[in-house]
């Protein structure tokens, strides 16, 4: 079984709490650069994209931290 994390651009508000939570969980510090989930913000157009670094284990901590249900775990 493969675990994926799905991202909804429509729901994402760009708060980046997922990134802060990820870095805090794994490194006990807050750092957007140390996060394994990355939200890129196209602020001028109100758009957001998510991607995951190669270190990401799909643990789902970012999914739990999202205030807006923009991230979802999918088991395939």
């Amino acid at each position: 079984m493969v675990r994926n994390i799905l991202f909804s651009e429509e729901k994402c508000s760009g708060c980046c709490t997922c990134m802060l939570t990820c870095s805090f969980t794994y490194h006990k510090v807050f750092s957007l650069n140390m996060s394994r989930v990355r939200i890129s913000r196209d602020e001028r157009n109100g758009g957001f994209k998510a991607f995951f670094t190669s270190e990401c284990t799909r643990c789902g901590i970012c999914v739990k931290s999202c205030f807006f249900n923009a991230l979802k775990i999918e088991e395939v």
């Binding site: 508000s13 708060c15 709490t17 510090v29 807050f30 750092s31 913000r41 157009n45 205030f67 807006f68």
Partner: protein
């Protein structure tokens, strides 16, 4: 240091010099961060009698102490300087990511002094600070400036000024990327006077905290409190636009420069219409509310226009105040004012003044260069915004702000200039709904403004008793009051008759103190936060984040300290007791329409309330001067410029 970056950076533009200092540990306990740090810096370094647009002025940016962490809504960064619009302590607050990136660059306080020889921008990339030529950005609007710097540096956060700042319009804003701003007090003009076009910042220094377990517990408590706020979902859906309906039903819109409390067609600007424009909610970093709306115009002349907007200040200021009753026209005004780098409240107010003067024949087409100024004509508004930003024609007078513009024009126009202490007042008509919010226009350190004095309970459910000034009808259930995170001694005095009423002067002091702390720790003043987060939880969060133990009482004492310092600075800059008054219309003309028709304000009673407010603060009841004893009690170190012991 935990929570803090530990560094102060001072840029002297005249000497083309960047210096770095350690953040004194004792400042953390005494001033916390953000607004507190800015107050301390200006207290120590800003001479009171300088021209705000001279190189002697100092601009300070400090992110709040919680910025850089995941504490809900901890995104806010304070910018302060001597204000060119009021000539007093000027300060403004903005969220998004800029403050986070400053902290992640290893900077708690950024001080900018002097004047660059040529137009410049400041780049702060991973902690390395450089002053660079911005000649290629001259004349660029704020959005193009952000675009250009992002092309050069990638995902930097950009604080910039537009043409309004370059031309030193006295209420020019500093825009925060595209749609946010340090809006009030004309700090954009101060940057313009220093030849600073922009500050681009990005950093990747990690922020450490003192106690992980305590942090997780306190953060989780803060999150639960905020999201359990009874109106949380309403705020997430409509953001500040919830106020549009409330103001309309109370008849307290600022219609046509406060001539009326209602306006035909306002039903198009009620919250139920938001869904036709709104595509999604947008947050600042670490915010669970997402009060901002990404909106697009679906049809009509401005079809396709998209931006972050329909925040209620824009809707009421560019809407009701100027007679515009369509979201799409208001959005167009927002776009233009944001690009030009103009403060929303001040620019809408000065244009409303010009419209009323035109209506009354004080200004003619000879004065306006042939432009007809008519309520509801967005093209006239857009033309004036451009003229103001470029100081063209009558725009050159309007660029001075409503107080100075009315003094220049004269001919009785002063009567229609809506400001307090030189700062244009925002959108709630105090006659129709009196309370802490409107009394706060008077007491606010920065002048006529609503963002520094707001009670943690704000509901219009119960009508305000007629001719009652000292008490405000509360309308909040007793159990909500019981759960408020408020020092008990204050709570027992602020709520009267088992919570039926609020004691306005007491709650004004509490609210000012609470918001000063919010602006020092860097959290947001939206009601889901304001109604749930107080000194107890802030004290827990602060200890967990920084390791510094500070009691809830000590947290509130910091607010008392910084407000007293700001007041002392304002007095040294020329503030007098006479300035604690509303524009005459609010006293002399009854509200002509709506459910609160017939109401006006009482000069004498409100003046007594001002004395009571001074007394509650421990300041001189007549002059409002904090004075030697109060400053000593608050352990405020005298400075070269402001001191109980003059040096």
């Amino acid at each position: 240091m935990y929570g803090y970056a530990g560094r102060i950076v001072k840029i002297d533009l005249s000497r083309n010099e960047v210096k770095s200092y350690d953040l004194p540990l004792e400042w953390c306990r005494s001033y916390i961060g953000g607004l507190g740090f800015n107050t301390k810096i200006l207290w120590d370094q800003l001479p009171p009698n300088i021209d705000p647009l001279s190189p002697e002025n100092i601009v300070v940016f400090s992110p709040g102490a919680f910025v850089g962490t995941s504490i809900p809504t901890a995104s806010r960064c304070e910018a302060s300087a001597k204000s060119p619009i009021t000539g007093r302590f000027g300060t403004s607050n903005s969220g998004l990511f800029w403050g986070f990136m400053l902290k992640a660059s290893g900077i708690d306080i950024l001080i900018i002094s002097g004047k660059a020889e040529k137009l410049s921008y400041i780049s702060i990339i991973n902690g390395e600070v450089n002053i660079r030529s911005a000649e290629h950005l001259k004349g660029f609007d704020c959005w193009s400036t952000a675009d250009s710097l992002r092309r050069d540096y990638g995902d930097v956060e950009v604080a910039s000024i537009g043409p309004a700042g370059e031309n030193m319009v006295r209420y020019a804003s500093i825009e925060n990327n595209y749609y946010d701003a340090w809006g009030r007090c004309g700090l954009g003009a101060v940057l313009g006077s220093k030849n600073v076009k922009a500050i681009a910042v990005v950093g990747d220094k990690p922020i450490s905290i003192a106690n992980v377990k305590e942090y997780e517990e306190a953060c989780s408590e803060a999150y639960s409190r905020i999201t359990s706020y009874p109106l949380f979902n309403l705020w997430r859906t409509y953001g500040t636009l919830v106020a549009s309906d409330a103001y309309s039903s109370q008849g307290i819109l600022p219609a046509k420069n406060f001539q009326y409390g209602t306006i035909d067609g306002w039903e198009r600007c009620l919250r139920e219409n938001l869904h036709k424009y709104k595509k999604k909610g947008i947050s600042c970093i670490s915010c669970p509310i997402a009060c901002a709306h990404w909106v697009e115009v679906p049809e009509g002349r401005y079809k396709g226009l998209k931006l972050k907007d329909l925040e209620v200040t824009w809707v009421l200021e560019f809407g009701a105040k100027l007679g515009l009753t369509d979201f799409d026209k208001i959005m167009k005004c927002t776009e233009v004012a944001s690009k030009l780098g103009l403060d929303c409240c001040s620019s809408a107010s000065v244009i409303a003044w010009a419209f009323e003067c035109f209506e009354r024949g004080i200004l003619s087409m000879d004065d306006t260069g042939g432009l007809r100024l008519e309520w509801g004509d967005e093209e006239a508004v857009l033309k004036l915004l451009e003229d103001i930003a470029y100081r063209r024609g009558i725009g050159n007078i309007l660029a001075e702000g409503v107080k100075r513009a009315s003094q220049i024009v004269g001919r009785g126009s002063e009567k229609y200039a809506f400001h307090i202490k030189g700062l244009e007042i925002p959108f709630r008509d105090p006659r129709g709904r009196w309370g802490v919010w409107c009394f706060g226009y008077l007491t606010n350190i920065r002048g006529g403004d609503h963002l520094r004095v707001r009670a943690p309970v704000e509901l219009f459910k119960l009508p305000q008793p007629k001719d009652e000034y000292w008490l405000e009808a509360c309308g909040v259930r007793r159990e909500v009051i019981d759960q408020l995170d408020m020092i008990e001694e204050f709570k027992s005095r602020a709520f009267i008759n088992d919570g039926e009423y609020i004691n306005i002067p007491v709650m004004t002091v509490w609210s000012e103190n609470l918001i000063s702390i919010y602006n020092s720790v860097g959290i947001c003043i939206r009601p889901p936060v304001l109604g749930t987060i107080g000194p107890t939880i802030i004290s827990k969060l602060y200890k967990a984040t920084t390791g510094i133990n500070i009691s809830p009482e000590e947290v509130m004492e910091v607010a008392d300290r910084i407000i007293s310092m700001q007041k002392e600075m304002n007095i040294a800059m020329g503030e007098t007791r006479d300035e604690y008054r509303y524009p005459d219309r609010f006293y002399d003309e009854a509200l002509p329409d709506g459910p609160n028709k017939g109401k006006k304000l009482d000069r004498e009673v409100i003046d007594r309330m001002v004395s009571e407010y001074f007394k509650l603060r421990g300041w001189d009841p007549e002059t409002g001067k904090p004075g030697e004893e109060k400053l000593k009690e608050l352990k405020i170190e005298p400075s070269k410029f402001y001191a109980h012991v003059r040096i």
